[in-house]
């Protein structure tokens, strides 16, 4: 895979999380997100916790540029709840985390479970006041008769403490399960999407939101599609897209009307009739949609492929990459073991030249758009010696298996990479296996 300065190889940097094979369900990673500078990396898990890692740069000079991510803050974002009216448990699993651009010393992120979005402030405290006039060091008030002079408290250094506090709770606006949140480029509003509706919020206002998309039919028996993902355009604050379970993407302009049920553009590729099967609808359902950083393209992920769409062309994608086409003949088994319902995410690199997505057997795939090359890599403990270069992997679809290839039937479908993230500027990637977070960096030869 070529990048600036020559061929790029990926090497292992760090792995976070427990080593046991016995994975606690609460530790399963459910979302991964870099902040806008890449200095912070947040993960959410099924237990409702958020763990934030901070980058510490060891050597700033290329090509020896090396950095390490260490735990910066851990907090419980969401707790399990019970909806007594519907007799339903509300899972605490963090579905998405989105960072707000930094405006002051503190960092802010939005985290959401199925029903409630929370705005968290993460701030550092490295000084504490000392020398109060009226109080002892332990907080007890002094006897006023003993006070004979006036002194002003001074701030003295202390060990760094990182505090996370919930600043806003945006609740009770979603009947169905929230699948996406997206911060607007105006830095004032954000959207949240569930299966049938998309709501627009102001970051300062928690007691109301505007419904901007509602695809719920009058008669639920006529339901044919649901919303699977939504995102604001990175620069145009009036534009957002949402994807559906039917494989379509709708681009909406909030200037056109208050309720954006009528799309401005509809992106859809006609289905290839030769690929029709019982499971055609399931595999065409889009699991993720992401705008490119430059705002000219968007990428969608369905079960077997990644598609790049030019926002100016609605009738077909400009590029299609097969992630694991060898699974097409196994759809029935994947249906039985539920893997066909897995929702893979996808991401762009900083300059939109490469896209990445996950697969099974702890494999993940990168597609270099410019050089039309792709590579399959593996996140595994076996390849986790410091700076170990990752060897490209290959799956043998049929016929004679070559040495170093792995056959489709040997793939472990319990080891899936659903969540990946790419540093906004550098070639650093975070790849989440079931309960471990792998960080890889490029090695320029």
């Amino acid at each position: 895979m070529a990048g600036p300065g020559g061929d790029m190889q990926w090497c292992f940097s760090q792995v976070k999380g427990a080593i046991d094979d016995d994975v606690a369900e609460a530790d399963i990673i459910s979302t991964v997100e870099f902040n806008h500078t890449g200095e912070l990396l947040a993960t959410g898990d099924k237990g409702g916790r958020v763990v934030i890692f901070q980058q510490e740069i060891e050597n700033k000079n290329p090509p020896q540029f090396r950095s390490e991510y260490n735990v910066y803050s851990t907090f419980q974002s969401h707790e399990p709840e019970f909806d007594y009216l519907k007799s339903l448990e509300i899972e605490e699993k963090i579905n998405k985390i989105r960072w707000l651009p930094q405006k002051n010393a503190a960092q802010f992120l939005l985290s959401t479970n199925d029903k409630t979005i929370k705005l968290w402030k993460i701030s550092e405290r490295d000084k504490r006041p000392e020398g109060y006039n009226l109080k002892e060091e332990d907080g007890r008030y002094k006897d006023p008769n003993t006070i004979t002079s006036l002194r002003v408290p001074v701030l003295i250094p202390m060990d760094l403490m990182v505090e996370a506090s919930p600043r806003r709770v945006f609740a009770n606006a979603h009947t169905y399960h929230i699948n996406s949140i997206s911060v607007n480029s105006d830095n004032e509003t954000y959207l949240s999407a569930d299966d049938l509706r998309i709501n627009l919020w102001h970051l300062e206002i928690t007691d109301r939101s505007f419904n901007i998309v509602d695809i719920k039919p009058a008669n639920m028996e006529e339901l044919t599609e649901v919303i699977t993902a939504a995102e604001f355009h990175p620069h145009q604050c009036n534009t957002f897209v949402y994807s559906s379970s039917k494989g379509t993407i709708r681009l909406c302009d909030m200037r056109a009307s208050a309720l954006c049920d009528k799309h401005s553009k509809l992106f859809e590729e006609p289905e290839d009739p030769s690929n029709r099967s019982f499971f055609s609808e399931i595999i065409s359902s889009i699991s993720d949609v992401k705008f490119s950083h430059n705002g000219r393209y968007m990428m969608t992920r369905d079960y077997l492929s990644v598609k790049i769409w030019d926002l100016n062309m609605e009738n077909r994608p400009v590029e299609t990459y097969q992630v694991h086409e060898y699974l097409r003949s196994k759809l029935c088994s994947l249906y039985e073991n539920d893997c066909i319902f897995d929702k893979f995410e996808c991401c762009w690199n900083g300059n939109d030249s490469v896209v990445m997505t996950g697969s099974y057997n702890n494999f993940f795939r990168m597609f270099d758009r410019g050089h039309r090359r792709d590579v399959t890599l593996e996140a595994s403990r076996e390849n986790s010696k410091p700076m170990q270069v990752l060897k490209p992997r290959k799956v043998c679809a049929g016929g004679k298996r070559k040495k170093d290839e792995i056959s489709v039937d040997s793939l472990d479908f319990n080891k899936k990479i659903l969540h990946t993230a790419w540093h906004p500027q550098d070639n650093i990637i975070a790849v989440a296996t079931t309960n471990n977070l792998y960080i890889f960096q490029d090695k320029v030869i």
């Binding site: 448990e89 199925d114 639920m220 028996e221 339901l223 379970s245 019982f278 609808e281 249906y335 039985e336």
Partner: protein, 182 residues
């Protein structure tokens, strides 16, 4: 019946059975029924049903006593994607997705001025009918029911609402082997 058609039939029936058991299992999932998943399951069931019916049509009239019961089961399935979809009142508690059945679907249209206070007891019960009462056999009913000659499942892996008996009309689909997995 040609071998290919039989194979397609068997495949369609198997997929239907798997789908139904998944639908049952999802009712006891943490976090409640997932609309997206339920929709996808119902679409697969619809595809399987359509393929089954079209392969039966191409094979000709039914040949034996076994056929009518499976056909009945399949026809019951024709209500499935609609019934199984989250709009259906019975399988799930989400009130938003419930469309209230009309009070008296047949009788009300011309009788706007009917005297509800003084109805004769012989009249139809005021209990809501509509789609809920048209639920096919294999979907769980809230009323206790024991199929003749059948015992209840001792374990209830599917939660308290499910009955082995209710499922039994699809026994030709080997559902018994599939259900315990959940």
């Amino acid at each position: 019946m040609s071998a290919a058609i039989m194979e397609v039939n068997a495949e369609a029936r198997r997929i239907l059975a798997v789908s139904i058991s998944k639908l049952y299992a999802s009712r006891t999932q943490r976090g409640g029924l997932r609309l997206h998943r339920s929709l996808l399951l119902s679409l697969v069931m619809k595809s399987a049903r359509d393929i089954y019916h079209s392969s039966r049509e191409s094979e000709g009239p039914p040949v034996g006593g076994e056929q009518p019961s499976t056909e009945e089961a399949m026809d019951a399935c024709s209500g499935c994607p609609g019934e199984a979809n989250p709009g259906h009142r019975e399988p799930q508690p989400e009130p938003e997705s419930v469309e209230p059945a009309p009070e008296d679907p047949e009788g009300c249209d011309g009788e706007i001025t009917e005297d509800k206070e003084n109805r004769s007891p012989a009249r139809q019960s005021r209990k809501r009918r509509g789609k809920a009462s048209a639920a096919p056999d294999f979907l769980p009913s809230k009323r206790a029911r024991l199929e003749p000659g059948e015992e209840r499942y001792a374990a209830a892996p599917l939660g308290s609402c499910c009955r082995a008996g209710a499922v039994d009309s699809l026994s030709a689909l080997s559902l018994n082997r599939v259900i315990p997995a959940f």
